[in-house]
Amino acid sequence: MAESMKVDARDTYCPGPLMELITYMKQADVGDTLELLSTDEGSAADVPEWVEKVGHELVRNEQIDGVWHITVRKAK
């Protein structure tokens, strides 16, 4: 399996982790996976909510040493 592209949105407030993820998801091809790194507590909930609503696939969502690692596969 190809390595996920990392989107490093740690310690940023604007445009913020989910906006960053959306930007890179638009550039990705269907089937690509992206790993979002975020220190924003809200990301653990708002990223999965967006992923589900749009219809992408949530692969991983876990916090390691204060950083959320959220992996998403582009489905459409």
Binding site: C14, P15, T23
Partner: protein, 377 residues
């Protein structure tokens, strides 16, 4: 030592003037040369476009001749770069010239790409170019009632602009005494009304007070121009009489053509502001791929850091400080009130209530900008 700056917008101009001041002795002794290449002989104050759309600023107030803003120590040419040869430390320009450098700064900015959303170009108004702002002004003047839908695409320049647009729309129609005939619906890509949590927290009661309808998690998929419907990737849709869009942006085509970064955004170290893999190439403002607001303010603070570091490299052989992510954005909260958001990598913004003095400070800054790009503020 040849220093080459590519891009004559906010970042490139502030950087060049700041460097000209710091390296004046070296430039006079011809130990250093400082060249600025731009695609235009005019410099636009881009935040003014939103005022133009509401008839609060005239078009000629948006521009100055770029040459009039620059120190005499800067060798300025209107000659856009077409080819970057980073492995040979040189660039080729449209006129056929080759410019060699020891240190390169890339500050080419961003552009709107409405073509990426079907129907957007034909069906929506924007305010990101002079022509678009003037057209929106006319559309607003002629608007007598109905639904105005505001949509926000990703990524976009100036993340504060969408909420400012809403506040200005509310006050504009209130002053025309037809606010009760205008339904304003705001659409935003993520799960709250602004990406900065504290801005969203501050703006939400303002939206409620102004009777603004809002839909979050709305990423524009297409505009059905014939039926006046805008649809989202999330499966929802809104009917409109007037659609105003914050369109998607990309970096400049020259960045993409030279394969310097996907989407035209150059991979950049968030502290050093150097291009990944190229220690003698700095990147400024919208051109970076940093998770930092694409605003003149970010470009300004980044330019100050890069200028200080390049000057230090010339004088002592080493950079002296990191960029801390600082951004300061005014937020117009209507036609006569404003607040601001200031933040960096470590500290979120703490918004104060909007006030008239802050609005007048913003109005004053619209003129003070010209001193700012000259490096005097």
């Amino acid at each position: 030592m040849h220093i080459l700056v590519v891009g004559g917008g906010t970042g490139g101009t502030i950087l060049a003037n700041n460097l000209a001041r710091r390296l004046a002795p070296e430039i006079r002794k011809k130990k250093v040369s400082l060249t600025l290449l731009s695609a235009s002989d005019r410099h636009m104050y881009q935040p003014g476009l939103l005022y133009v759309a509401f008839g609060e600023m005239s078009v000629d107030e948006l521009y100055r001749d770029e040459a009039s803003l620059l120190s005499s120590h800067i060798d300025f040419h209107v000659d856009p770069v077409e080819t970057f040869r980073l492995d040979q430390n040189e660039v080729l320009t449209r006129s056929g010239q080759t410019y060699e450098y020891d240190i390169l700064v890339i500050a080419t900015g961003s552009r709107i790409v409405p073509d990426q959303v079907p129907g957007l170009k034909e069906g929506a108004e924007t305010f990101y170019t002079e022509a678009a702002a003037l057209k929106l002004f006319q559309r607003l003047r002629e608007f007598e009632g109905g639904t105005i839908a505001v949509t926000v695409d990703v990524p976009h320049k100036c993340p504060i602009a969408p909420v400012e647009l809403i506040f200005l729309l509310h006050d504009y129609f209130k002053l025309r005494k037809i606010r009760d005939k205008v339904h304003i619906k705001y659409h935003y890509p993520i799960g709250r009304i602004h990406t900065i949590a504290n801005v969203a927290k501050w703006a939400k009661p303002e939206f409620d007070r102004m009777n603004i309808e809002y839909e979050t998690l709305f990423n524009m998929k297409e505009v059905d121009v014939e039926n006046k419907v805008v649809r989202s990737e999330e499966g929802t849709e809104t009917n409109y009489d007037l659609l105003i869009a914050v369109p998607p942006h990309r970096g400049m085509a020259v960045i993409e053509h030279n394969q310097l970064g996907v989407g035209g955004w150059i991979p950049t170290d968030r502290y050093k502001l150097t291009m990944d893999g190229h220690d003698n190439v700095y990147v400024l403002g919208d051109t970076t791929n940093l998770p930092v607001s694409k605003t003149g303010s970010a470009a300004h603070f980044e330019a100050e850091v890069v200028a200080e570091n390049i000057a230090a490299v010339v004088k002592i052989g080493s950079p002296v400080r990191d960029y801390d992510g600082k951004v300061y954005c005014f937020i117009e909260a209507g036609h006569d009130r404003a607040t601001y958001a200031m933040f960096d990598y470590s500290n979120p913004p703490d918004l104060k209530p909007a006030s008239k003095p802050m609005h007048w400070f913003k109005v004053a800054y619209n003129q003070m900008y010209w001193n700012s790009v000259r490096g005097l503020l």
